[in-house]
């Protein structure tokens, strides 16, 4: 099994929006490579049909009536926000980025 490169791990971590330390990168070079090696076994399969199964659900999607129902209250929306300011959810400054 070939280890992933440091750059590959950094790229994947960025796609996943997960910060990684140098030490973690070394671990992921091995553990992610092991997983990808196993996943690559699907390339042993040939001769399959092109129909894709996105979900086992075979029924037509049923839409509910377009009626106004119960709505979330302001305090419910804010209940679990980690940082809030009055009735707003607070985030770091982003305009200067």
């Amino acid at each position: 099994m070939e280890k992933l490169s440091v750059e590959e791990v950094k790229h994947i971590a960025h796609l996943a929006r997960i910060a990684v330390t140098e030490e973690e990168i070394e671990k992921y070079r091995v553990s992610l490579a092991k997983l990808f090696e196993m996943i690559d076994q699907i390339h042993l399969i040939e001769g399959y049909n092109d129909d894709m199964m996105f979900s086992p659900c075979e029924e037509e999607a049923i839409l509910r009536k377009d009626e106004i129902g119960d709505m979330l209250k302001e305090d419910e929306v804010l209940l679990n926000a980690p940082h809030k300011n009055g009735k707003f959810i607070e985030v770091p400054v982003m305009l200067n980025e």
């Binding site: 996943a16 929006r17 997960i18 990684v20 699907i42 894709m52 049923i62 679990n80 980690p82 770091p92």
Partner: protein, 485 residues
């Protein structure tokens, strides 16, 4: 002296009707047992106050259905209004849902009493429940062994007879595999049979909520309550909900039963094979036909599952960004840094690994060669199963390749948690109902078998399961190490 909580649900119901027992009296026993069995670490949150308050309310009304006043434990990835729901993650350690999942609404309406939220693998990712932020639950049969996972807390709770009923969820075997390791009955219903509204999503096309119970009959009773169409879940089925207990107790004589050959290949240990062969002999002796059947692509089912489950997980878990709810890092100067550090600090090792693999598989350069291909083969696999059901009434197989093993044994191997589920994953891939039934023991640890049905054939599965349950007549109380009985 026997406790009321150890009686069957039918017996408890009769006592309720005769007014010889009250829900409060039953809860006293449950909370006493929770305290006594705290070494199992199967609860993340205990809902004592809420449960007693619900019980008092029930006591003001007439006894209703069979599950009225019965205590139940809920896997901690099913949201419960005003009761902390953590998914066994630091990310949701203090998360207080503002609504009830549809299954919770249904069980509350029926008068069941929620006594706690159960330990599990973080975000249901794992096969031993050891990835929990709150430490692993222990197997009641031997405290140094795993419960299996991811619904390990629910399994341990029922196996230790703390509650007669629990809800779990099954994405790649997470109800059936711990049920096998702890000696209880666990059903993953047909995909769409039970609403997923309020189940914190892992892999949406695979996830399904199901009952975990002491007996087959009680399992069917609970499925009766939670099944049915829900307009809040687009994938929930409009298939009518029958009485799942309807065929229980009916004779089983002329069934045609298939065994998918790969599921009894050399991946299975001798101890499990021995238990399984005993069941096959029993079925044949009673006039049923049992033969091997080939189902396509089972050899690669784990790899296919990894692509689909991790791909969907990476998308589903993108919502945990530290903004609207959940953990947020204290150490960020920009929004990008906020996302990346929040997710790095809030998720555990297994979850991060799976999100990273999934993100990579769904990236533009890889999606077609991995994800699209996996979905195509998945379609063929389902067709192969459906073809088998034209000939066979049911399929059977072992549930797990081995019995439960020691805590810590598989922690360093990122593939172990997937290989543990090699026999249970195919039913999720094909959206089929599948049930674990305790079928024997090896070295005082339980071993289960799996019954797999055609879509929406749960009632027939329960018929076969109850027949075997009666014939095997196992003593499953060994998982109870409270000593008062």
């Amino acid at each position: 002296m026997s406790k009321y909580i150890d009686l069957s649900i039918l017996e408890i119901h009769a006592l309720y009707k005769e007014k010889k027992l009250t829900p409060t009296m039953l809860l006293d026993e449950v909370f006493e047992r929770i305290e006594k069995e705290k070494d199992l670490n199967c609860f993340i949150t205990i809902c004592k106050e809420e449960a007693y308050s619900d019980a008092k309310r029930l006591e003001q009304e007439e006894v209703r259905g069979l599950l009225w006043g019965i205590p139940i434990a809920i896997k901690d990835n099913i949201v419960t209004k005003n009761i902390r729901t953590t998914c066994a993650s630091k990310m949701l350690e203090h998360f207080l849902p503002i609504y009830d999942a549809t299954v919770i609404e249904k069980i509350k309406k029926e008068g069941l009493l929620i006594v706690g939220k159960m330990n599990m693998d973080e975000f249901a990712m794992g096969s031993t429940s050891e990835t929990s932020y709150f430490g692993p639950p222990k197997n009641p049969w031997n405290l140094s062994f795993i419960t299996g996972g991811s619904s390990g807390g629910s399994a341990a709770c029922v196996a230790a007879r703390i509650t007669p009923l629990a809800l779990g969820s099954d994405t790649g075997g997470s109800i059936r595999q711990p049920a096998s390791y702890t000696g209880i009955v666990g059903m993953k219903p047909t995909y769409g049979r039970v609403s997923r509204y309020g189940l914190i999503a892992f892999a949406s096309s695979l996830d399904q909520i199901g009952p975990m119970t002491r007996t087959v009959y009680e399992n069917a009773l609970l499925l009766n309550v939670i099944a049915g169409h829900d307009e809040k879940d687009l994938t929930s089925s409009t298939e009518p909900v029958e009485d799942f207990t309807a065929f229980i107790g009916k004779d089983v004589q002329h069934l045609k039963i298939g065994i998918p050959s790969y599921l009894v290949s050399d991946v299975v240990s001798d101890e499990v094979r021995c238990v399984f062969e005993n069941v096959v002999s029993l079925l044949k002796e009673n006039g049923n036909t049992v033969e091997l059947v080939d189902i396509s692509y089972l050899e690669q089912a784990v790899s296919l599952y990894q692509v689909i489950a991790m791909g969907e997980a990476s998308s589903n878990l993108a919502r945990f960004d530290g903004i609207r709810y959940g953990y947020r890092t204290d150490n960020a100067n920009s929004v990008d840094e906020l996302y990346e550090k929040t997710r790095s600090e809030g998720f555990g090792e297994e979850v991060k690994r799976r999100i990273m693999v999934g993100s990579s598989l769904l990236s533009s350069s890889k999606a077609k060669i991995y994800y699209d291909k996996a979905l195509s083969i998945r379609d063929d696999m389902r067709s192969s199963f459906l073809q088998a059901f034209e000939k066979y009434d049911l399929l059977i197989a072992p549930t797990t390749t081995t019995k439960a093993y020691s805590l810590g044994q598989g922690l360093d191997d990122p593939l172990k948690s997937f290989m543990d589920d090699v026999l249970v994953i195919p039913a999720n891939m094909a959206g089929l109902p599948a049930l674990n039934l305790p079928a024997g023991f090896h070295e005082q640890l339980p071993i289960g078998i799996q019954i797999i049905g055609a879509p929406f054939k749960e009632a027939t599965m329960y018929q076969l399961a109850s027949f075997l349950e009666e014939k095997l007549a196992l003593d499953l109380e060994g998982g109870v190490h409270h000593d008062e009985i």
